[in-house]
């Protein structure tokens, strides 16, 4: 099982960071042959914040290439799997007890899925409350540094260390908005009926959480939430377009992989990128490029940006009435290497459940194998709710 790209001998308050987060004492690869062995000259603000708060980085967890995939199956270094069943590597380090928490960059839902399948607690905080400085950019307008641990208290503790304004991140929110703070108990939770498309075992987890909420005196109401179904396509468009731009710098000249097979500069660029990127990255780049073409820019890319607002405004209306939305994180309780090899776009399809929060930047807590989405800056309330479950 390929869990680590690099394992450190660190002992103490161990945190594993995924291989999208820059460190200066260990390589950072983004799960890609393009960055195999790449040593950064500077570290991510998340790493600095963890060190300043007394944590040690015990290793770099294996990731899918640029974290676009389902559960790390596209890593150049091989998937993290057990008997053919995919395990998210960062979540696996927590499950094994190597690390008290995992800090990862959520791009397309892989961290949430891994936590849900492993029975761990994970929080994707409100966009802009944890610095993205020093993370390898893939889909900047939604990607967020998140925390996975065995319990809510640990997630809260690590998140408190990570949160804060950072001048080096242009999307960082003012300090007063980054503070986790205290929260009132939840009174009303909505269940998104449109997302109840998972298998029976997963839906049973939703029912179990729903029952606990009701037992805790929370009113649980089913809502249609059809608008959330638009998020998958819109996020795939925006994510692909942003990835296309973000990986255009990898050309085999200044750093990263350079092909030995070239006779001129065009062959150097093309063969370096062709040999170094995996299929999912290549197809995402090409799809993103097409959405940004003259013929499609307004029809597809611009439309996706407007759809983002439609979903965001819908969620604002929902959160005016409800404290959270309860939904599955994925459609099944297990995914195999074989399945993802047969359907390379499985991550796109499964993002039905994770895209609503990715495209709008709202916070999410994963617990009991399901997710609770909340209004922007309601992170503390979501954690408090998870604590009661």
């Amino acid at each position: 099982m390929k869990v680590y790209i690099t394992k450190s001998e660190a002992t103490g308050k161990n945190i594993v960071v995924d291989d999208m987060i820059l460190t200066t004492d260990m390589p950072t690869t983004a799960g890609s042959k393009m960055l195999d062995g790449y040593m950064s000259l500077f570290e991510a603000q998340a790493v600095t914040a963890l060190k300043e708060n007394g944590y040690t980085i015990c290793g770099k967890a294996n990731t899918g290439e640029f974290n676009l995939d389902l559960l790390g199956e596209t890593s150049h270094f091989g998937p993290c799997e057990e008997n053919g069943v995919l395990k998210g590597a960062a979540a696996q380090t927590v499950k094994m007890g190597d690390a008290m928490a995992a800090v990862t960059l959520e791009v397309n839902g892989s961290s949430a899925r891994a936590a849900a399948l492993a029975g761990l607690v994970m929080m994707k905080p409100t966009y802009g409350t944890v610095s993205r400085f020093g993370t390898i950019p893939a889909a900047c307008s939604g990607e967020t540094v998140c925390v996975t641990a065995a319990d809510v208290d640990t997630v809260k503790e690590v998140l408190t260390a990570l949160k804060g304004h950072d001048d080096k991140d242009g999307t960082s929110l003012p300090q007063e908005k980054c503070v986790l703070g205290q929260a009132m108990p939840a009174k009303k939770v909505a269940v998104a009926k449109s997302l109840l498309t998972a298998d029976a075992d997963t839906l049973a987890k939703v029912e179990a959480v729903k029952a606990k909420l009701i037992a805790n005196g929370v009113e649980v109401v089913e809502i249609e939430a059809e608008q959330l179904l638009l998020a998958k396509s819109a996020w795939n468009i925006l994510m692909s377009a942003e990835l296309c731009n973000n990986v255009s710098k990898y050309d085999g000249v200044k750093y990263g992989y350079r092909t030995p097979n070239y006779t001129n500069i065009d062959e150097l660029y093309t063969n370096s990128r062709t040999e170094a990127f995996g299929y999912l990255t290549k197809s995402t780049v090409l799809f993103g490029s097409e959405t940004l073409s003259e013929a499609n820019y307004f029809k597809v890319y611009d439309k996706a940006q407007r759809i983002r607002r439609v979903i965001s405004e819908y969620l604002t209306a929902v959160f005016a009435e409800y404290d959270a939305i309860l939904a599955p994180v994925c459609s099944k309780t297990e995914y195999t290497v074989e399945e993802t090899a047969a359907n390379k776009y499985m991550a796109y399809e499964e993002s039905t459940y994770t895209a609503p929060s990715m495209i709008t930047g709202i916070p999410v807590v994963v617990t009991g194998g399901v997710q609770l989405m909340g209004a922007p800056l309601s992170d503390a309330a979501l954690l408090a709710m998870a604590e009661t479950l």
Partner: protein
């Protein structure tokens, strides 16, 4: 999506796909086009684009020089470098 457009995209992005990959991607494009049609059916005429998910304000910082990396540091991981230059194949004959 047709093969001519896909070839153009590959050239633009300096990426090559195998024939099997091209066929897989064209099938994905067809599916994505159907998804895009669903988005197109949503009336967004009076909806503004949402570029940033959280309200952003422009931040102006003091123009103070901070730690910078030396050329040697920056070229440490160059696939090929010589005398302070990144090396590429000859561009002009």
């Amino acid at each position: 999506m047709d093969i001519k457009t896909l070839s153009r995209l590959q050239k633009l992005n300096q990426l090559n796909l195998t024939e099997t990959e091209e066929n897989e991607l064209m099938a994905f494009f067809e599916k994505a086009e159907k998804d895009a049609e669903i988005l197109a059916s949503v009336d967004t005429e009076n909806v503004e684009r949402m570029v940033y998910v959280m309200p952003m304000t422009n931040i102006i910082r003091e123009d103070i020089a901070k730690k910078v990396f030396t050329r040697d540091q920056l070229q440490e991981q160059a696939p090929e470098a010589m005398d302070g230059y990144w090396q590429v194949p000859r561009l002009v004959e």
